[in-house]
Structure formats: structure tokens, C-alpha cells
Amino acid sequence: MKRIYMDNNATTAVRPEVMEAMLPFFREHFGNPSSVHWAGRETGAALEAAREKVARLINCDPAEIVFTSCGSEGDNLAIKGVADARRDRGNHIITTEVEHPAVLAACKFLEKQGFEVTYLPVDEQGMLDVDALEAAITDKTILISVMWANNETGTLFPIEQIGAVARKHKICFHTDAVQAIGRVPVDVEKAQLDLLAISGHKIGAPKGVGALYVRKGVRLTPLIHGGHQERNRRAGTHNLPGIVGLGTACEMASADLQNTADRLRRLRDRLEQGLLAAIPESQVNGHPSQRLPNTLNISFNYIEGEAVLLFLDMQGIAASSGSACMSDSFGQSHVIDAMGVDPMMANSAIRFGLGYDNSEADVDQVLEILPGIVKKLRDMSPFYHERGAAKLTANS
């Protein structure tokens, strides 16, 4: 059975070139870059080379990159770090209802510490209203944190417009770009960002490494105090292999961003149109056009998402329902919920996250298999059998 991996928004395999770049740093060049001897000298240069590659992908100065262990750490460092450093200037934070748990939970924690947080709603396409955001600003607002691309639906927020608003009001602006990076062009200057979090394992680098862009002059309290690594913004011995891998992955993403995006968009659209055509009463969740090129979130009414995933899995197809890290918790996705999707429709939402190595054959395989799965589950579903009756009742 051919395995088809379409859960690249959850995590990606390490790209072969990334693996190759990392390998020498585990056993051969393993020194601590802070050391004076050969083992350290070898790695110091690699550390800074990786920093430059990450900086190039988002158009910042290498000194503005802080290496972290993951996207969640970056989000927490940005949000708690700025909140603590600016506490004397105000206690109000603006974010959205559809952020990743790393942002939402950091904000909930700050609420317990006396901060006030505005969670902006989204419309039925998952889109944010920039005017509403501007209207939420008070003279106590110290931070705006809005994700670049939503992990569940792929909806892209108008980051440049938000950046202009933030700059106009002189408010620090953080974006969680974990899903955006390597998939759409990201430029911290154009977007007038102050902070931006990325994670290696979403773009073919390994798990265990990420980065936070911190604009020069933006002060933030570290999460992890200790040694002087990362200009005192993040202590701990550098994860050299991971950092080298992140550098290589960023370099590769820079090199063919547009090509990959175009190719994945074609595949995604093929999948989307094929499924909508083959399966009645299905719908796409998220914005029709302002969307990551690789992401499709689609619902098939009357059935439950996990059951669909299991049947797909049995045929070797890996997809997900909602955010992977939420799949061990109950209830519906807070993202689909916030869009006001009907609960039964929401419960059947499946996310496909295409990756650079997916092919047209992969898409066709899904198109061949999935309609049958939906049919089988609908045949089993009491709601499906009652739908005629319900409609009759509604019409009578």
C-alpha cells in the first residue's frame, strides 16, 4: 500500500538536503559554539551561517533572529516577553479567537496575571476585520498578536494592513507565522512586524528548533534565563544540528517559494474541486482565495471526522481533523467554531496539508478513496437517514 502523507500542517518529514546538512553536526562538529577550541570554532561559523539563511527568508538582519526550540516557545517568548517588558506602559493585548493554542494559552495565562486580552472574532470565511482590530485599540494596548496563516483552515490574515495599523498606533506587533513561512512570501519590513515566530518542523527542518524574529530595539524579558546565548534573549546550549537544519530548510524555501506554491495550489485545487463534485453536502471551511496554497479544510455533513481519518489511514492516507496537538482533547475545533459553522458540519471537518513531495497521483488516489468512505459512514449515520424527513418537516 502506498503511503500518502497529507498532514504537512501538523509536521513534515525532514527534507533530504536538510538531513545531509545536519548530519556532520551530531558527531563530528559537535562542539559548543561558545568554546574557544577547535570543536567550538567549527560550530560557531555554522551557527551564524544558519542565522543568515533564516534572516534572508523573512528579510531581516541576522542579529534580529533568536533561535528557539519550537513555534510554541517563540509565541510564548514574544507574548509573555513583551507583556513583561512593557507592563509599565499598559496591560491590554489584542489577538484573535482563532490563534493557535500556543498564543491563546499564553494570553489566558497573562489574563491571570492582570492583563486584559481582546479576542477578535472572525467571519464565516475565517477572515478578520482590520477596522474592528483598530477599534479595539485602547491607550493601554501594548501588543497585537495575529497569526499570519491559520493552521486549520489556511486562511491568510491581512498582515500588512494590520502592521500599518500597529505602526500608526505605535503598538508592538507579533505574528505567529509558523504555517505561513515557506508557503507564502513573508517580509517583516513590508509587514512592519516587530516579532514573528517560526518552527522548523513545518518546513522540512527537524522538530526541536524554531526561531523568533525580534526587531532591533524591541526589548523583551527572556523565558529561559541563563547563559549569554542569543544576545541574552534565550539561554541554553545551541541545538546546532537543528539550527543548521533550519537554516538549510529556509534557504531551500527561499529558493523556490513561488514554484512550490503554484504547484501545491494546483494540486490542492484539484483535490478540492474533485471532492466537492463527488460528495454532495460537503463544504470548504476557510477563505476561498486568501488561503495557504497547500491547505484544504473540508466538511462532509452527517458524519464524524475521526472516523473519516481512520478509514483514510487504513488506506495509507494521513490527514487530520483540526489541530494535531488538539486531537487528544474533546470537542470541536475552536477555529471552525469561531467561523459559526453548523456543529454537525464542523464535526466532520478534515484537513489536508499538502507537502512539496505530494504528486497528482496522490491527489487522485484520495479522490478515488474518499467518496466511498463518506458514503459508507453516511450509510451508517442516523442523521443521514433522517435528513429527508428533516427536510420534509422543514418544508411542510
Binding site: E304, E306, A307, D328, G331, D379, M380
Partner: protein, 122 residues
């Protein structure tokens, strides 16, 4: 995550469907996750002759439904009433903790169907 038995029952669920003119019909909706099961019974001489179900829910809910249905065909009503949700989960070789509540549908829906039958008989 799931045992082989769960996967088997989920992949090839037994007794899916509806019985026209069923002797008893019952259903149960999970308050925690919205999963829903509907049970149809054919009863002869106090024995469950046929059972069909419709289930809306995750893999665990579907597998529990199927397993339950297999466990009670040919059983007396009393035996069926004595069946517990835990016994269904055990027969499946156990379920992951966060999924246990999904197996709490099957015996409950069965009992509703039996009560429905008994009320009609009385």
C-alpha cells in the same frame, strides 16, 4: 492507539442498518461529544433474533456499536439488559482512556430499545 479488535469492528461493522417494523427502537446521544446511536430489534420468545444499528460518531463509537450487536444476537432480553458498557469495551480489548466515553453509547442504546419493546408489549 486502537486494538486490532476495534479496528476490525470499525472497518467491517456488523449489523449496520435499519429493521423495518422493528419490535423495539432505542437511541442514545452522548452528552459529552454528540455521538449518537440508534438500535433496532427483532424479538421472538424473549430472545433477540435480529439487531441493526445506525451510529454517528468516531471509530470507538462505531466499533462499540458493532461489538455490542454481535454480543447480543441470540441472547435473552434479560441477558441483554445485564450487558454493560464496560463489558463492550472489554470485549473490544479495551479502548484508549480519552475514548472510553465513546463506548458508553452502545449498551445504553440497546437498553432503550429493549425498554421500548417492553413498553409496547405491556
Amino acid at each position: 492507539m486502537y486494538s486490532d479488535k476495534v479496528i476490525d469492528h470499525f472497518t467491517n461493522p456488523r449489523n449496520v442498518g435499519e429493521i423495518e417494523n422493528a419490535d423495539g427502537v432505542g437511541e442514545k446521544v452522548s452528552s459529552s461529544c454528540g455521538d449518537r446511536m440508534k438500535v433496532f430489534l427483532k424479538v421472538e420468545d424473549g430472545i433477540i433474533k435480529d439487531i441493526k444499528f445506525q451510529t454517528y460518531g468516531c471509530g470507538a463509537a462505531i466499533a462499540s456499536s458493532s461489538m455490542m450487536s454481535e454480543m447480543v444476537v441470540g441472547k435473552t432480553l434479560q441477558e441483554a439488559l445485564d450487558l454493560t458498557n464496560d463489558q463492550v469495551a472489554d470485549a473490544l480489548g479495551g479502548l484508549p482512556a480519552p475514548k472510553l466515553h465513546c463506548s458508553n453509547l452502545a449498551a445504553d442504546a440497546l437498553h432503550e430499545a429493549i425498554k421500548n419493546y417492553q413498553a409496547a408489549e405491556a
